[in-house]
């Protein structure tokens, strides 16, 4: 189908030199560059493009823009495909492939359309009333059924091959919409030197002027647009973004816009350029020049293909050079349809006008009659006829009350109905900005009320429709916005000359009465996308729904992907008529972002794949990689979990690593532990207030293990702190707690005790740390270390010293998390890998073995050392852990008072215990519950749970730590842990399984 039978011979904003081939539902078509899919299909006379959501009624192209509820297509193939694309906005590109949605097996014959015949059975609230009972049926039967019937396109299943970018920008003035008002605003703001962004959703700026024959300064409007753009381009601080929809207006003038950078290009041709770019804009001032959407009129079968908005028909004629049919009936309650009728007539269509007002506008009517257009004043459309395309309409004279008809109805044959129910300002962004929208009875529409944010509306978006006013309001808004942002320029811009327009008032008239009193209104469609009819809305009102928010949810009106851009005002008007109140009393639903749907790709941006989240690595990472480490994620860190040798299982590797650490040397990359440098005259006093135990008396050169509680008395982190000098400490924290603990110290220092002289600096990343443990650790280190005595007297357990290791300046700290004699070697990070490789080489003859976090967990559990965050969960006090001796009685500290609360002193609190399973080979799952009494099935009274559980190669059996109610009094008791399909019995013990006296670690 290459013949564009309905393409006009001249005019339009299309490039006739560039034919573009595309296909729709498997048929091949040709359009021109500059076409949308909708305009190109109309050029071939194709109006039927989809089926409706609920009744599967044939639907055509209603609009020429973002408000389109019907013409939703699946566009693109394979991984590039996108559902629910508005044919009225999708620009044509070579090879574009589009298919209609909601139909099976084909658009012309659709099996689902049978539900249309049953429509009386699907009233408002149908789902709520029908699929209520029994509840178990929801998941298994109703929901899948409804989902299958719902349709609305499909999302791609392949990974998205396109790039999506985000941009964070600031501007003085953001102008949304580049129609007449928006261009005028950008011009007047831009000339002050302010940073101006002008975002417009269309492929070229100009708004509805592109589709009009209006003259500005005695020349076609497009010339004024071109010169305005040229002026804007000459301003270095002005950025014009076409194909960019501002989709959200958030707090403090933060707006989000989607730029469709490459959607109009054949897929896969963008190279490194993104397909879409999400702009996050902080604007000091905003001008909303978002224009208006035309309202449909509500009459029987007003949803038939071939029935479109009058303004859209005009766009297709003037902007796209498409004649949308042969014979048109233009039906209206206002003046704006007259120029549309004239344009349709001038392009060769036969035209009739049906004006519900009894007095049509004189000059416009005269111009129409000159073209032999017959005008039926005081008439309304009773119904449209035809199925896949409108064929005929019935019209009749309205009676005096305007709730019925007089005289004999007439029939007119036509293949196009162009309707205009008046204009709705596009107040979506204004409403998102928290502005209240108000009903204007004079204009018969909702308009922006008072601004809440630094924002102003201009032009049609503000309910100002005549062009001359749009231009001047836009200009003033731009100037005022720039001034409010601190930019002024003397002298005004000249007002462009526009032909005066004097309009007859529109009539607030929404819906055609039924053909006879009492006839159903179930084919008078209000919301096309969700198939909501006037009957549904009236039913909701009759059933007692008063709030528009409730009517919306009950009927689903305005809940489609178009969010009711064409339907909301009509719905409100019908509610108000049914209830006999003013539309202002019905109120409006809340407009929520996004204005038009966003892709997940745009929201994710480049935060995908390896950039989805930072991977933090230590200086020794590449050694771990090269030596086959399996990694564990600890926060964003990658830590070696275990190092499997060829043929080893995880348990094999962990066993080998655990044995090596107790019998030879184990080496652990401990770089990730948090390290905080603490300095100041009051550093010791500060630590005394933070830790449960005392630090004042700690001698320089020595280290102390400390427990930190929240003010609620619960343990939240632990670690060893070394006193480097009288006024200088180095605190270590858990890996996960590093940032939190630093923030905690800063918070107390800055907000509660600013008088204490103390500074905190993170040095976590400054030092790489290799920790060696085991009977030969000292011997190895003595080979490599210089300038430091490593003997147990000179450098005892819980002390530190400085020297050189392998020539690198190092701090050696004698702490132990494994329970073995250990040396923690800290060197500047850039030397970490060298330190590690040197230790590995020199340690080979001692059987040095790298061990990962799993072996570390086993080794420390053998010793009963806790891991804050694993054996504690924010409800555990020091005493619960058996560390009551670390709670100072002689000083206050954070959380101390809470430990005296009755709940913290209960004898039956959960306390840390050891568990030894009766079968030594059974390893309890962490999280397993200890119950009071085993019953055949839950619920059972739970008295504790397993926090850590491993197989210990050193002990040749399983071990576990658990929190158990009154646990300290239960050592020796037998408890039972019910697991799926089995029960495990265990004996309660003290939470230490190895070297209870700690002789090994002090060695």
């Amino acid at each position: 189908m290459n013949e564009q039978r309905f393409r006009l011979f001249a005019g339009g904003r299309i490039d006739r030199e560039r034919a573009v081939r595309f296909d729709f539902d498997g048929e091949r078509y040709t359009g021109f560059a500059g076409d949308t899919v909708a305009s190109a299909l109309l050029a071939h006379g194709v109006h039927l493009v989809g089926r409706s959501f609920k009744y599967h009624r044939p639907r055509g192209i209603l609009s020429a823009g973002a408000e389109e509820p019907n013409a939703l297509l699946q566009v693109g193939r394979g991984a590039y495909t996108l559902p629910n694309q508005r044919a009225t906005q999708v620009e044509l590109y070579a090879g574009l492939s589009a298919t209609s949605q909601n139909r099976w097996p084909s658009l012309r014959f659709d099996a689902g359309a049978v539900s249309s015949l049953l429509s009386p059975l699907f009233p408002a609230g149908f789902y709520y009333k029908t699929f209520m009972w029994p509840p178990s049926f929801w998941l298994r039967h109703y929901e899948p059924l409804i989902r299958r019937a719902a349709g609305l396109g499909r999302s791609p299943t392949e990974p998205d091959p396109d790039r999506y970018e985000k941009m964070h920008v600031h501007c003085d003035v953001l102008v949304v919409g580049a129609g007449a008002a928006g261009l005028a605003a950008a011009l007047s703001a831009g000339r002050t030197g302010a940073r101006v962004m002008l975002a417009d959703e269309q492929s070229e700026p100009g708004g509805w002027l592109l589709g009009s024959k209006t003259a500005i300064d005695d020349a076609p409007a497009v010339e004024w647009i071109a010169s305005a753009l040229e002026d804007l381009r000459s301003m270095p601080e002005v950025r014009v973004l076409p194909r960019t929809t501002v989709t959200g207006y958030y707090d403090h003038n933060y707006l989000v816009a989607l730029e469709r950078v490459g959607d109009h290009l054949p897929p896969g041709t963008g190279g490194a350029r993104p397909r879409q770019r999400l702009w996050k804009i902080r604007a000091r001032q905003v001008v909303l020049a978002t224009g208006a959407h035309e309202r449909p009129l509500v009459f029987r079968n007003n949803d038939r293909p071939g029935i479109m908005l009058a303004g859209a028909a005009r766009q297709y004629v003037n902007r796209y050079a498409v004649r949308p049919g042969e014979s048109a009936v233009v039906v209206t309650n206002n003046d704006s349809a007259y120029p549309a009728a004239i344009d349709l007539s001038d392009c060769g269509m036969q035209v009739h006008i049906v004006d519900v007002r009894s007095r049509p506008p004189e000059a416009m009517a005269a111009a129409a009659r000159q073209r032999s257009i017959e005008i039926f004043a005081g008439h309304a459309l009773v119904a449209a006829h035809g199925h896949a395309r409108v064929r005929e309409v019935t019209l009749a004279s309205l009676d005096a009350a305007r709730t019925g008809y007089t005289g004999t109805p007439r029939r007119l044959s036509c293949d196009l109905v162009a309707m205009s129910g008046g204009l709705n300002p596009a107040v979506h962004l204004f409403s998102q900005s928290r502005g209240r929208i108000v009903y204007s009875p004079e204009r018969g529409c909702f308009v922006p009320g008072e601004s809440v944010q630094a924002e102003r509306s201009a032009g049609a978006a503000n309910g100002t429709f005549p062009l001359a006013y749009c231009l001047s309001e836009g200009r003033e808004a731009g100037k005022a916005a720039a001034a409010a942002a601190g930019f002024r320029k003397r002298g005004g811009l000249r007002s462009p000359k526009v032909e005066g327009e004097r309009e007859q008032p529109a009539e607030a008239w929404w819906i055609s009465p039924p053909s006879r009193a009492g006839a159903p209104l179930n084919k008078h469609f209000v919301d096309f996308q969700n198939d909501v009819s006037a009957a549904d809305i009236a039913l909701a009102a009759r059933e007692g729904y008063r709030s528009v928010e409730h009517v919306k949810r009950y009927t689903t009106t305005g809940m489609g992907t178009d969010q009711g851009k064409t339907s909301n005002t009509n719905a409100i008007a019908i509610i108000s008529q049914t209830l006999g109140v003013d539309p202002s009393q019905v109120g409006v639903t809340t407009f929520r972002p996004p204005y038009t749907p966003l892709t997940f790709g745009a929201l994710a941006g480049r935060d995908i794949g390896e950039l989805a989240d930072p991977v933090r690595t230590t200086p020794m990472h590449d050694w771990h990689l090269a030596h086959g480490a399996a990694f564990e994620d600890v926060g964003q860190w990658k830590r070696p979990w275990y190092y499997p040798a060829a043929g080893e299982s995880m348990q094999d590797a962990v066993d080998r690593e655990c044995l090596a650490a107790r019998n030879a040397i184990g080496i652990l990359d401990a770089t990730t532990l948090g390290k905080i440098d603490i300095q100041g005259a009051d550093a010791a006093e500060f630590l005394d207030r933070i830790y449960t135990n005392g630090f004042r008396k700690l001698a320089p050169g020595r280290c102390r293990y400390g427990l930190m509680c929240g003010e609620d008395g619960m343990v939240f982190d632990d670690g060893v702190t070394a006193r480097l000098a009288d006024r200088h400490f180095l605190m270590s924290t858990t890996t996960g707690g590093a940032a939190r603990v630093l923030a905690w110290l800063e918070e107390w220092s800055q907000t509660e005790w600013p008088e204490l002289e103390v500074y905190f600096n993170s040095v976590t990343e400054q030092y790489a740390v290799a920790s060696i443990s085991g009977p030969f650790a000292r011997a190895l280190l003595e080979e490599l270390a210089t300038g430091i005595d490593l003997g147990p007297e000179a450098l005892p357990f819980m002390s530190w010293g400085e020297g050189r290791v392998a020539g690198i300046p190092a701090r050696i700290v004698r702490v132990s998390f494994t329970g073995e004699s250990s040396f923690e070697i800290n060197v500047p990070s850039d030397y970490g890998l060298y330190l590690w490789t040197t230790l590995m080489r020199a340690g080979a003859r001692y059987g040095i073995t790298p061990f990962g976090t799993e072996a570390m967990h086993v080794l420390r559990a053998e010793k009963g050392f806790i891991i804050a965050g694993q054996d504690t969960d924010g409800t555990v006090t020091p005493d619960d852990l058996g560390l009551g001796r670390m709670v100072s009685r002689h000083k206050d500290f954070i959380g101390k008072r809470s430990l005296a609360r009755p709940d913290c002193r209960r004898a039956d609190r959960k306390q840390l215990v050891g568990l030894l399973t009766e079968d030594p080979q059974t390893v309890l799952p962490e999280g397993a519950q200890i119950v009071d009494r085993v019953l055949p099935r839950p619920p059972m009274k739970m008295i504790g749970h397993v926090t850590s559980s491993y197989f210990s190669a050193n002990l040749g059996r399983s071990i576990a730590l658990a929190l158990l109610r009154g646990g300290r009094e239960r050592h020796g008791e037998r408890v039972v842990l019910p697991l799926p399909k089995r029960r495990v019995a265990a004996t309660v013990t003290a939470p230490v399984f190895y070297d209870e006296q700690g002789e090994r670690l002090r060695a």
Binding site: Y254, K280, R434, A743, E747, Q750, K896
Partner: protein, 96 residues
Amino acid sequence: MLLIHCPWCGPRNEDEFSYGGEAHIVRPAAPEAESDAQWADYLFMRTNRKGLNLERWVHTHGCGRWFNVARDTVTHRIEAVYGMGEAPPVQSRGGG
């Protein structure tokens, strides 16, 4: 995304900051002397007004300083930003 004026770094996006709860809650000088009820009040009870709240924020991804903000929880309007230890330049208001 609120725009919060850090007293040192100037206006920055909300996601650079961390929220620190209600401001002007003073830690008792002698916690041991507090009754359980008084301590619970300090520890747990917050006003949570629907209206203008005085609250603490810290510029986590900036200078790291704590400061106070008077913010309306209905409109998100920020009426004042002031230093730790300073008296609020506006009074909180709204239902508790």
